[in-house]
Point group: C3
Chain length 327, copies 3
Amino acid sequence: MMPSDSAVQFDSSGRLRHFLTINGLPRETLTGILDTAESFMSFGQREIRKVPLLRGRTVVNLFFEASTRTRTTFEIAAKRLSADVINLNAARMSTSKGETILDTVRTLEAMHTDMFVVRDSASGAAHLIASHLPSHVRVINAGDGRHAHPTQAMLDMFTIRREKGGFDGLCVAIVGDVLHSRVARSQIHALSTLGVAEVRVIGPRTLIPTEIESMGVKVFADMAEGLSGADVVMMLRLQRERMEGQLVPSEQEYFSRYGLTEEKLRHAASDAIVMHPGPINRGLEIASSVADGERSVILSQVTNGIAVRMSIMATLMGGADGGEETG
Amino acid sequence: MMPSDSAVQFDSSGRLRHFLTINGLPRETLTGILDTAESFMSFGQREIRKVPLLRGRTVVNLFFEASTRTRTTFEIAAKRLSADVINLNAARMSTSKGETILDTVRTLEAMHTDMFVVRDSASGAAHLIASHLPSHVRVINAGDGRHAHPTQAMLDMFTIRREKGGFDGLCVAIVGDVLHSRVARSQIHALSTLGVAEVRVIGPRTLIPTEIESMGVKVFADMAEGLSGADVVMMLRLQRERMEGQLVPSEQEYFSRYGLTEEKLRHAASDAIVMHPGPINRGLEIASSVADGERSVILSQVTNGIAVRMSIMATLMGGADGGEETG
Amino acid sequence: MMPSDSAVQFDSSGRLRHFLTINGLPRETLTGILDTAESFMSFGQREIRKVPLLRGRTVVNLFFEASTRTRTTFEIAAKRLSADVINLNAARMSTSKGETILDTVRTLEAMHTDMFVVRDSASGAAHLIASHLPSHVRVINAGDGRHAHPTQAMLDMFTIRREKGGFDGLCVAIVGDVLHSRVARSQIHALSTLGVAEVRVIGPRTLIPTEIESMGVKVFADMAEGLSGADVVMMLRLQRERMEGQLVPSEQEYFSRYGLTEEKLRHAASDAIVMHPGPINRGLEIASSVADGERSVILSQVTNGIAVRMSIMATLMGGADGGEETG
């Protein structure tokens, strides 16, 4: 059917042209993105923060699934690169007039837009779009179903590298609803590629996919065991809708067993950092004292997210037109 | 009551200041817009695409009727001219607080905005607004009721000129729901003014206005006859709501009689082009094989629409302040 | 509980860093804002209107209560200062995912945004947000509950100064629903601080707060008496919802007693000006002949609002980073 993500992501001369998934990307590609992001960090300081790398380019935020937070980070990143940004609530557009998604995207491309940032509730949506656009248009996956959320994983990696100095020898624990999480899938691929020592997932059996061990991770149902000695604790967001089904007993019981409290955190390494992709559910998957505590790097993740998204946009666009590489 | 559109469109020294309708515009005006659009085509290529013609100007997209696609083309065109763009879902604004449309527009003008792009479900809305604003403010009609959609017609003319080299001797067939179509009215005015040899309309009697022959067009109820020898086939969008009334029997029957298929297209000239204002209804007014086929210039129309809207904006604004003419 | 507004508004070296309320601001601060706004008035003319004072800065319009008109004025003001603007319908954002307002704001700040323009139906919302952000972030109150709407009051003061040459000796009458009006509160504070001779409020007893006389104003229930000799007549908007309760008898009766007509206006000074924050209810609190008449400065208020908001933004941001003062 469709060619694999990895094949679609590169052009014929081996340059990255889309960013759809971490799976299959070589370590140098990930490291290059992190290095370029580092060079953008100074732009986030309180001085002039615009660079003209995408001046004259048009970036379309095509969100078929609502997410003000993620859309805003891409909008800010694109504007700091001097791009023009068009925000489309595509759900409204495509359904109200019965146009297909591919017709919508082809029409937008015909307006000579340069890059699509796509979020959709269907796995594979960004891939589908990338496969049907001319080669000079770039596509970034901003989350597709349960499949992948690669820019989130990259900002997580960037945060880990800044906090820990690198990936060698690290033990990383991912906690919560792994089953429904596109974030977790992308994190596991990135951590494996960047060479951490050990990746663990912790959660109730109902929220851990059965095939997960084939990805090279260790599964724990008990927090004390799973967190033992971990250098990095990556919490996942629990959708409150899960409570309505039979996957999770109750908010109280979930928090009691898997909510990250200061007490449970004592099982991790003494200098462990705590991460969360946001928005956080205080008192459900994480206690406020931990979210706001000194081990938390949650707000740093947000800050880093701008630089990492600038880096990914600049990297993809740098490969267009035979233009110069950035970073 | 209101002065005619033509009178309103020109200032006292004969310069175009609003773009409300094609009806009454001289051929030189239309040709000037097409020529200026030609000069903007290079900006759509993959190089620097911003020009500073509207730098410091504020363009307000005032859409009382939803249309993400059309609004996006105006937004992109204005930003490529370096204007600031304000998008207003005016329906929400005016109704929620009970302000009249004219108070809304006067208020926006008082913020020293320079141009209004207006879409409304009522015929004459853009004209009404233009009549009540100070003379330095420009108004572009982005579609008013069944009356006119002049920028769409201009991008269609631009596409025909590019594809056919000019208008002399052309036979153009407009197919579908002419009765409810503001696009068709504007197309007929433009084609007549630019001097094509023949304009035909094709559709079921229920969808052809009775007075249409007074506009100098020939009416056909049969596709084979109407398409015979046509150089340009301009399809119209059929609103699915028409099915609910008694105007159209069923989707199947409509497609069977008036849907453009490869078979029906064989009646046209061998180098005929196929156009559609979008969004298309595949399998209703046009077969996918035709929409995506080699005769189709539908996506070129979208691309051309940016240059043509840039041209119209620059032409109107060039007439302000005694500024230089562009193109 | 919370420190007072005045304390929060200034940094440790006495510079204005937030604009939350007029109450407690010294006269020099208000005069400085008006002077800076004067310097921006030329930018509203039909020439180049961008200044680079906020270039590279990101301004977030955080509207928890819908107001297209007010949001648009801030958006235009920020863009004329060359800032990037992010518009957030925060109501939608915060409720759909259950995040708290403070988490939302902290997350946005972590994206290195520089300024929040906040509107909320709860009194104290802007103050709350300002109290929880790092010191380099600025907050402007764009209306909080019944508490304050200080930028509206400042544009009103700017308009009075332009029309009357100053504040000395002026008699100002505020007419209408003072009880529910955040605008009136801010106007009274500003007029008192700037030293007008007399402030009056006029309205039915049900719409005048009982403690209002402690603010140094005179209360009138009769329009003829209250308007007698007034130099400035500031009308308030009457929410039509008030009709549903028992506060106002009927639209007809309200207009008959408190609607500003040409007849009632004759009681004021012969050169009195008429103001209204908009949007106006024609035939409810003001007759069309007065709103559109020669005494009306309502549209000037709108125009002035852009310059005043540019001034406030530039003043707050000028205090950041030890940057230069503007104006």
